[in-house]
Symmetry: C2
Subunit: 208 residues, 2 copies
DNA sequence: AGCATTCATGAACGTGCGTTCATAACGGAG
DNA sequence: CTCCGTTATGAACGCACGTTCATGAATGCT
């Protein structure tokens, strides 16, 4: 089959997008540093050098793919939960923890291996923070809690920032150990429900 | 200067121990995957091949050095705080958070880069969990909290495991973002005191 | 002093990776 | 049909890294 034909058959997707999607998939599977240029080519079923017809170098493709992966994951999850004054605080926090778990479980594996590579890390500057605080997830939660506090649904002396740190931190704590097992494709279902309940309950008792 | 003389001048330290110490230092600075065999040799001021006179390969040296680093850090920190029934719960939790922060701030940078390397990770199996839960730090804290609960100093419905997860999780949450900045040598002093207070207070309110 | 053993040395080797480039296949314009 | 710009191709290049090995210096034993 001719390469042009092959590209055309790829659902009218331009080769550039096809490369990005392939790279996204590999990143989610093995981490941003877990595959080679040839791995990308083989998985995309194209020649070794294609990458350089559409990107300046591997890092640029990685950056674009990482961006796309984060954006796609967020889009797939829908909008963030937690509308002030709506539902119970517990329901909102539970939904938020679930959202954070799903987002980070999908995103964190992709970031794996970046920390030890200063050059790559520098290039991912605006993406490296999201791995830590999830695209402002913590700030978002803190803002929600402040709004609830203004509505009188939180103890006035409670610290929204600390509470947000606690929830996101617990989220990371539940995910991190699961990243170190062989397959490393964690799912929210793997987490014992008792942990979720205990965390939400403790947090609720701590702030209302 | 003769190599033997040089080794002798190194404070009677055997070359093997000298290599371990050098490797430890590099790991704490750049992460376990952030330096080469030649980097070790240059920093240790020895020839490129020395490593293989004392270890089977690079990975063995890394494993030994990582073990030593964790052990040395724990020894430097003294015993873990939190004796049930002693001091106030708040003082104990504050001390525990401080201990966890110091330990993980010293240890986590060294683990950087391991996640993306399955082969290395497999060889570090028993060491990869410590990075996530800090040598059983979480289990240790949970046991302490259970003891306090038996003494009636905790609400009987409180969940010690969840509380431990929260504290350790918050600890990670405070550290992780700091691992992504250039120099990456975080210190407990860098953390705004308000965060510590807010976390401890929220947790205390949640469980007593 | 003579010999055997140990071990540091650093040049050299093989491998894997990111990247380049001459080639050719393709589609469109005239 | 022919020419031309575009772009996929994959062999080849250069480099960095882990590892090996022939060499020689130091040490301990007899």
């Amino acid at each position: 089959m001719s390469p042009r034909k092959a590209a055309a058959l790829r659902d009218d997707q331009s080769l550039r997008d096809h490369l990005i999607a392939t790279c996204e998939h590999l990143m989610a599977e093995r981490g941003a540093a877990g595959f080679t240029v040839r791995d990308i080519a083989r998985n995309a079923q194209v020649a070794d050098g294609v990458l350089y017809n559409h990107f300046t170098d591997k890092e640029e493709l990685l950056a674009v793919a990482l961006h796309a992966h984060v954006r796609n994951t967020e889009r797939a999850l829908g909008e963030r939960p937690g509308t002030p004054g709506q539902d119970t605080l517990e329901a909102n926090l539970r939904a938020y923890l679930d959202y954070a778990l799903r987002l980070h479980m999908a995103i964190m594996p992709a970031f794996a291996g970046l920390v030890s590579q200063p050059k790559v890390l520098a290039r991912f500057a605006e993406l490296s923070n999201p791995m830590a605080d999830g695209q402002g997830l913590q700030a978002n939660l803190a803002a929600y809690l402040r709004a609830e506090q203004r509505l009188g649904r939180l103890r006035s002396t409670a610290n929204p920032d600390a509470a947000a740190t606690i929830l996101i931190g617990a989220c990371h704590e539940l995910i991190l150990p699961r990243l170190y097992v062989q397959g490393a494709q964690p799912s929210p279902n793997d987490i014992p429900p008792g942990y979720i309940d205990g965390i939400v309950t403790t947090l609720i008792n701590g702030i209302v």
